[in-house]
Symmetry: C3
Subunit: 345 residues, 3 copies
């Protein structure tokens, strides 16, 4: 496909973006690539930051640039075709779809799958080899269940949802439409409920269930527990990365994103549009408001207000955190003065 | 079941607890529920803290309360049946058992399971679809092995133990009675043993084994490694949450609890009744005494004495940690004073 | 085997090491063991540190010691046969190989495995029960694929590589020779690529692939994602422990070691010979130079130079970190003095 054809096909030319005006620049694009790895025939993108300097050396023939005239001039000078847009990464994502089709297995139920007789199966479903579906499960239209997945009894799986290989869905879990459960993830498993007694731990049965609303994505080897009573719930279009732990009874809003290795203890409430960086931990029963952000490794042990950005352990505002981090390194000099003063007294 | 019948059945009326004296209060209980989600016909509990105020608004018809007369009076005023007891959560856990039976598959070996001919199988065992049992494995009475589990050679599994779907038990592992291994957990895998040499890492074979004593529970996607020589051992009734890492050669006592994403490096010794909060890390060869507690995200790099409570990275006493956390936020004002003093000199 | 025979067989007598000169000391060694667990007939080792004092009490009949004459004298006095060498742990690892052969299943493809017809299979391969191999996969000579592994389309697996039970290899992944993928690990899964838009997250397809070079080892339940474009790459002989997260597009050099629960965000560059302690986190696009070391729980948010050793969150030099950790505990006394000074003004 040629560059101008790509732009036209996505309707981007008419979209209030800038285009390189160098006459005759319309390279053949055979692949999409990262700017620092691009070969001839590649289209790449720059969002800013440290990748911007790669414009000077990239072998890409076309670039998606931000609305930054300096970068645009650099690209023009090197006779690289470009389009400038407010969200280069989004446009790049859309162009990837022109060059790449994700693996989609053919429809049907593999003969080696073990599917309970009372399973309700929708249209155009794929159930891969060695999948096991227990009793009372409902599977929507166009659902894809990759090999070696296990689905416990009375689970509901909405249409167009994808379960990747080796994931496990426990009893009574409700999974919405257009969800993706990645390999090794475990959904609806027993919450960690042990009551201390004089004779040891008393196991609290986890009679509740887990609900994933439409468009939820759960990363590889993540675990979402069900509670003793009631629900664990993850809201519409919320995305979890790999190795994330969601404790029993958490209520998570819509459109959140949690990076890898985040851990939520039991009964946590998370609003809508919340973003948690990698390895963030959230303590029992904490409430985090809408659109709050926690940077990587934050330990949230105090409630977080809507829109607040927090860091550190225990969590404080990210602004204060940055100041304290600078101060912290000055402790040795402060200590020296303090010691002198102490002597003088 | 009616409220009075539940109390009688558990023998709690005679148990030195208080009971609501409002005459005629004996609601029909159709379900157990969290206090803030309860509908008519529900029984809930309050242990204290922020849930106590829900007594004013809950739709529950019966409550288990702590030994707190103010809360009891509030419930009585709203004509909610209640029983007050020293451990509300424990009583609630016992009542859940009257309303909920966990999923228990029927007995027998599924024809798709691949079981080595020399496997010793006890009575009333369940081996699910696509389970693979290698050579020399011993399976006790009433063991439940859910689908797609893999058991390597020479493993022993005690009676009444449950292995959930997609977990993996490696060679020579000994699992006691009444253990639960949750989905995706890996037990007895090779410890991370690489010796640096001039030509790169030399792999140390992990000839030891892993032992889980009776009543141990291992959370989803957790990993318990075996050592180069000797044993990794987890003591009686110790409970591990999801995504926990136990390094090679660790010795863990009985009745411990470790929250999600805890990580123990190699050769760690943990006493009895130890509690580790979420995302706690413990360094190589560290010793943690009986009944010690580490709050979430603690990095234990110094030994911890019996009964001690630690926090922070590196670990200090939780008491000191709380003080330092307050002081830390005062660094900017301290710095201002320090700077002025420096000028004056 | 007798002690002298072991030493001779490994060629260590001629190797510039010291040997116990006590005449006639040549015990029969029936097993290898940890020094504090050794029984009669055991060979153990001491590398130094807190295990050294176990020389006084061990029941081991032979020891591998460091080049430390005090320890050697202690062992001689107790009439324990010993050899002293610069790297006791390495010699011990070599001796384990004389006493232990890891489990190696017999060759062939199990009839329950589901292998796509166009799979290219090398010589002397083992494909275990219920393994699923999708279309277009190439499997080298002597590869071992344990039960319930799933391999997505167009994967390449080099010779002598071992895939442990229940791991998952996603589309287009290239695994080198002599790699080990432990149970539950997921390689080549979709990177966490979501672009924020006014209407929610836009999913960026992950058209790239993951490459593991020769000799790479990936721990249990770890996840290595593939990127939107280009490669995620792990260099020759790099070893990852359990529950490690490698984000999309990371480039990791050779001979690195990462302890359990390390997490790398997207696009991280790691040099050769880098060592990351347990629970270390590395932020997006960070560059870590050759032979750098990060101690446990470090949060790397600034680039790390070659050979540097870093600690803390945010990362600082380990030397400064140790000083600040000491200072930190003095904050309360410093605060008292500063407060007084403030009053005096």
């Amino acid at each position: 496909m040629q560059f101008q054809e790509i732009i036209a096909q996505l309707g981007e030319a008419a979209n209030n973006n800038s285009l390189n005006q160098t006459p005759g620049l319309n390279p053949q694009i055979i692949q999409v690539a990262a700017i620092d790895e691009a070969k001839t025939g590649s289209l790449s993108y720059v969002e800013g930051g440290k990748f911007a300097k790669a414009i000077a050396t990239t072998k890409a023939d076309a670039l998606i640039l931000p609305l930054d005239e300096t970068l645009q001039a650099q690209a023009s000078e090197r006779e690289i075709a470009w389009i400038a847009t407010a969200q280069p990464r989004l446009l790049f994502a859309r162009i990837i779809n022109l060059y790449y089709q994700p693996f989609k297995p053919s429809r049907g139920i593999h003969p080696s799958a073990v599917v309970a007789p009372n399973t309700q199966v929708g249209k155009d479903v794929y159930v891969g080899a060695n999948v096991v579906i227990e009793s009372g499960v409902t599977i929507g239209d166009r659902v894809t269940i990759h090999p070696n997945v296990v689905v416990y009894p009375n689970v509901t799986i909405g249409s167009d949802t994808i379960l990747h290989a080796n994931c496990t869905i426990h009893e009574r879990t409700q999974i919405g439409s257009r969800c993706v459960i990645h390999s090794g993830a475990v959904i609806g498993s027993e919450g960690f409920g042990f009551v201390p007694t004089a004779t040891g731990w008393y196991k609290m049965q986890q009679s509740g269930s887990t609900v994933l609303e439409d468009g939820v994505e759960i990363g590889c080897n993540s675990a979402v527990d069900r509670p003793a009573v009631g629900e664990t719930r993850i809201g519409r279009n919320t995305k979890l990365d790999n190795l994330v732990q969601i404790g029993h009874g958490c209520k998570i809003g819509s459109n959140c994103a949690m990076a890898a290795q985040v851990g939520l203890a039991g009964g946590v409430t998370i609003g809508n549009g919340v973003m948690l960086g990698g390895q963030v931990g959230v303590a029992n029963q904490i409430v985090v408001g809408d659109r709050a952000i926690a940077t990587g490794k934050t330990g949230i042990v105090h409630d977080v207000a809507s829109g607040e950005m927090v860091s550190g352990m225990p969590n404080i505002s990210s602004q204060l955190y940055r100041r304290l981090t600078v101060m912290y390194k000055r402790l040795p000099e402060m200590y020296r003065v303090y010691k002198e003063l102490k002597k003088q007294k």
